[in-house]
Amino acid sequence: MTDITSQTQAALAAIATATSLEALEAQRLDALGKKGWVSLALKTLGGMSPEERAVAAPAIQTARAEIAAALDARKAALETAELEARLARETLDLTLPAHAAPKGSVHPVSQVMDELAEIFADLGFAVATGPEIEDDWHNFTALNMDETHPARAMHDTFYFPDKTAEGREVLLRTHTSPVQIRAMQEHGAPLRIIAPGRVYRSDSDATHTPMFHQIEGLVIDKDIHLGHLKWTLETFLKAFFEREDIVLRLRPSYFPFTEPSVEIDVGYAMEGGRRIVGGSGDEPGHAWMEVLGSGMVNRRVIAAAGLDPDEWQGFAFGTGVDRLAQLKYGMNDLRAFFDGDPRWLAHYGFSPFDQPTLSAGVGART
């Protein structure tokens, strides 16, 4: 008995001080291996009397269990130590730079056009398009600017030397308004469209570029009047700037293609050198700025597009997309819009995941 007890104590001591898995294995073989002393002791039980066995067996089983548990515990400890040592060796300098995937961007003009499409879709407007190389009938005549109309000369038009098969002048559209004509011709009435796109004027200075972007809106229906126009523009500007304090000032004006014609001013304040839209222009520290041209569609235009002006009426409006982008997102140099400088595009452009939605608000804040 004392023999087993002392052997067990010796084995446990050896296990506790084993410094490697190999040494531990040697201890296991020495005690629990096929020829280990515990295994051999177990074999002696068969030759014992029942009385002897009743005393010896529990002692041997206890020794085996104690040694097995000690082996497992020591093995786990040694493995943990080894893993820790390996991990310590694998330490990286994580202040070193990681690989960065290039970030792309969406141009502010595209972003704003998507915002406008989203807002107006909720109001039931579809997006219509038309050619940029237009004929003078669609760009002028159908819009109540015949050849002798003084307004035609004021449009700074780019012309091509070509003529269409019908003998019309070919030009770069000076506004998105010809899309009104094409949309009415194609879809008839009732109609609600916006038409964003590139337009061209032979004008170039600090605030004008020979190419820029406009958006046109058109509603043709019955019983549509100036009150609907005002509501639509108010609603649109509130959604676009995501603020409720938008105040409009309507001023009588003149466009050949609308009658009555209305210029739309919006109130703003100067904050940090920037125009911040909101509030009445008559409030202290505020002023008005022109943002949209609009009016009730001239009956000649409705007739030119093939609809009966006694049956249908409606309103149209137009504004600059680049300008809306500038007002909302604060870039001031129009020429930079068309430069393709990645630094500018990265700063003023938008994440591809800034897809405008009504639920999130159409704008993207930084």
Partner: protein, 796 residues
């Protein structure tokens, strides 16, 4: 239009302030572009009393004055004016004041060693006149110390933008009429000074072109004295930005600016024979008042006598018959010209004038006699002389337009409920007459009124657009319906997919320098070239999106950028049917400079290669909804691409959906930009529309049995396209083979000269039952046979 407030008040009895008048002008459609208050320009100038004047110790022409400014100690001021003397009263600019004439800020200073605390000013320095012979001398009763601006009584000047439909407001009187209608005051009748007519007009006046010049009225005044205009006249003209010239000229300008009525005065001594309005003869010339000679054609109307053309009718008078200081006898001309012809003539000659702008928009046909009498009366009053009776040739349009108006339209179109009595009042105050049953007769001066909508505008603008209440557009029940077309959805998705691939969206000009467009034009393509480009750099409509992006990449490189990854979605411009354009939606990509920077992990910087371009082309075509599984890689990307490192992606042999690859070194040279540069162009118009697109996908359950992969290495001729081998292998057993992927390409040691080794990983998907060894053996044999057809030999 600019005018002084005092001028407006000549015609409008009002107590309104400048602010109220400006608000009203904006409200009725006469947009205020600015208000200039001369009082602000004269801030810091005070009335001063010169107490003493003594010679400057060190300068003969200077005096040292002590002046009283009303408060505090008298100031010492050095002055060079010869008329400066003790006892006089003048105008002193104090330190801090800005001299209007030259913008100089006055400071306390020392002049030749003598302290000076301001400046005594001349008329010219304060921009009140031309006189610069001495300092201003004010009457003895001028209040010392008062602000000179208050004493001078300078009137604010208002500038309004008059829209082209309102020539009747291109005179102060018309603006006064509109303001009176708005309720800002009472319009005064035009005061025509009385004069006595004596005798017939000695000059024969005719119009030989009743279409171009329907009416030509005239009158002679003999014995006038042309001199300088009185102050009131000069002040009014100056407020309008018009320089006073001489009394007679100033009076015609006064008639034009005050009443929107151009007229002309000839020096009778310089005319011979009848004065006739007629068409010019082709090639006839006239020396105009701007001292330029114009060559005329037979579409233009002129005023001529027996000897020569004197006047481009309605646009500009002639130098040879203008009035001068010595003029004593004059012929007044007041005429009505066809607006369209005036506009056409002005555009042809490139000649702009205040008269043209009024005539081409339409002057008041009802203001010929009154206009002539007003001019006559003013001349007789101010320049003396004896007028003859009026002689009239032809007659101006006199049929007033009558519109059957429904006052209910104001609500239906204008959204404003205005009482009929108020509508009537507004129309009548603007000169319309409202007859029985709302038959509205329009004043002749309102050329812009065409129909009922115009009357609605008149009522609404005077009643107040600010009173229009917002009314919601009717909307469909429930959630708004989608409106975007498939093309719009494609473009929006593609834009964001491209940006998500790490590219920056650019917007570049639609027009290019001709050389850049020509370089990218197809052989048979006739470019769209502008007839009147703003510069040679913006002349030809782009046939490709790549040149504009290459030019941007060059600018960026020149600015020191390490690279540009740019894309643009826009149109290419081609010729279409019937002389119209064919504009095709396109995605262009340019990848220039560094793809990856040098790095501690990656080593040297890497540039873009043709496979970067290919990967983007395929990824983005898929994003655009193209059937990328069916595309073939073919050649002929275009002469702008590296012939061996570019390709096209086609759906069938003819439908090119995209081109991609490395830009040709010759193209890089033409665009003066360093390479290598990779480029992609996606032709969105060529992508077939998805048919029968539906929400529900085809049924699919991931296969229960695991796929197996087998590797094969084939020795193939060097020239064999890997894609051909892959396609051949793919077809070896269409049921089992789900993917074939090249994972190694090798030539060199162990591979015979003229050959390369292509290693393929073939994925096999079992169907109902797992592959048996015999199945796999059969498939492998089919693969080897299919490869052999392409010239491939299995490597051992």
């Amino acid at each position: 239009m600019k005018f002084a407030l005092t001028w407006l008040k000549d015609h409008l009895e009002t107590t309104a302030t400048v602010g109220e008048i400006c608000d009203a002008l904006n409200a009725i459609g006469l947009e205020v572009e600015g208000v200039e208050d001369p009082a602000t320009r004269l801030a810091g100038f005070r009335i001063a009393h010169v107490l003493t004047a003594a010679r400057h110790p060190d300068a003969d022409k200077l005096q040292v004055l002590t002046v009283d400014t009303g408060d505090g100690e008298p100031l010492q001021v050095v002055c060079g004016a010869p008329n400066a003397r003790a006892g006089m009263k003048g105008v002193l600019g104090l330190p801090g004041a800005v001299v209007p004439a030259n913008g100089m800020v006055l400071r306390k200073s020392a002049i030749r060693g003598v302290e000076s605390n301001g400046m005594m000013c001349s008329v010219r320095e304060l921009e009140l006149g031309e006189d610069h012979d001495g300092i201003i001398e004010l009457p003895d009763d001028a209040p010392v110390g008062a602000r000179f601006a208050d004493y001078h009584g300078a009137s604010p000047v208002i500038e309004v933008a008059v829209t082209p439909n309102r020539p009747d407001c291109m005179g102060v009187y018309g603006i006064a009429r509109d303001l009176a209608a708005k309720g800002l005051g009472t319009l005064k009748p035009i005061a025509i000074p009385a004069f006595a007519e004596r005798g017939d007009c000695p000059v024969e006046i005719r119009t030989d072109d009743p279409e171009g010049c329907p009416a030509f009225y005239g009158r002679v005044i003999t014995g006038v004295t042309n001199g300088t205009s009185p102050d009131w006249l000069q002040a009014r003209l100056k407020s309008a930005g018009q320089r006073p010239i001489s009394l007679l000229v100033d009076l015609t300008n006064y008639l034009m600016l005050g009443f929107g009525r151009p007229a002309h005065i000839y020096d009778l001594a310089k005319l011979s024979g009848a004065v006739v309005a007629r068409r010019a003869r082709a090639g006839e010339q006239v020396l105009a008042l701007n001292e330029k000679t114009y060559t005329l054609d037979d579409s233009m109307v002129v005023i001529a006598d027996d000897a020569q053309v004197h006047d481009v009718a309605g646009i500009m008078g002639g130098e040879d018959s203008g009035v001068s200081e010595t003029t004593t006898d004059v012929l007044l001309e007041i005429a009505y010209f066809d607006p369209v012809r005036i506009g056409a003539t002005g555009r042809k000659l490139g000649l702009a004038s205040d008269a043209r702008i009024r005539f081409e928009r339409g002057v008041d046909p009802d203001f010929l006699d009154d206009g002539l009498d007003l001019l006559t009366g003013l001349i007789v009053e101010l320049a003396g002389g004896t007028p003859t009776e009026t002689v009239r040739a032809g007659s101006p349009p006199s049929n007033a337009k009558v519109i059957a108006f429904d006052p209910g339209l104001t609500l239906r179109l204008g959204g404003l409920d205005v009482a009929e009595s108020e509508q009537k009042r507004i129309l009548e105050s603007l000169g319309f007459s409202v007859g029985d049953g709302w038959q509205v007769s329009c004043p002749l001066r309102r050329h812009d009124i065409e129909g009922a909508a115009d009357l609605v505008e008149e009522v609404v603008r005077i009643y107040g657009l600010d009173k229009v209440a917002s009314v919601a557009l009717p909307r469909v029940e429930g959630v708004a319906r989608p409106t975007a077309t498939p093309q719009q959805k494609q473009e929006r998705g593609l834009r964001r997919a491209t940006a998500a691939s790490g590219l920056n969206e650019a917007v570049t000009w639609s027009f290019l320098p001709e050389w850049a467009a020509e370089h990218f034009a197809a052989d048979d393509q006739a470019l769209w070239l502008l007839a009147n480009p703003i510069s040679e750099d913006l002349k030809a409509m782009r046939p490709s999106l790549l040149p504009g992006l290459l030019m941007a990449a060059k600018r960026n490189a020149d600015r020191g950028a390490s690279g540009s990854r740019l894309f643009e979605i826009g149109r290419r411009y081609f010729r279409g049917q019937a002389g119209l354009s064919d504009e095709r939606p396109t995605l262009g990509i340019v990848l220039a400079g560094e793809k990856t920077q040098r790095g501690w992990q990656t080593g040297k910087a890497k540039t873009f290669d043709a496979y970067d371009a290919k990967a983007l082309a395929l990824e983005l075509l898929e994003a655009a909804g193209a059937p990328v599984g069916n595309l073939m890689v073919m050649g002929e990307a275009g002469a702008q691409f590296h012939p061996g490192q570019s390709g096209t992606l086609r759906l069938g042999p003819k439908t090119v959906l995209a081109r991609f690859g490395m830009v040709h070194p010759a193209t890089l040279k033409v665009f003066d930009v360093d390479g290598p540069i990779a480029a992609v162009e996606l032709f969105l118009d060529a992508i077939p529309a998805r048919k029968n697109a539906a929400f529900a996908r085809p049924g699919f359950t991931p296969p229960a049995l695991q796929a197996v992969t087998r590797d094969f290495a084939f020795l193939v001729p060097e020239a064999l396209a890997a894609g051909d081998l892959v396609r051949g292998v793919q077809g070896a057993d269409k049921a089992a083979i789900t993917a074939v992927r090249v994972f190694d390409v090798f030539a060199g040691q162990g591979v015979p000269e003229g050959y390369k080794s292509l290693a393929l990983e073939v994925t096999l998907q079992p169907g109902e039952a797992s592959f048996k060894d015999s199945d796999l053996k059969t498939i492998a044999e089919k693969i080897v046979a299919a490869a052999a057809k392409q010239g491939g030999e299995l490597r051992g």
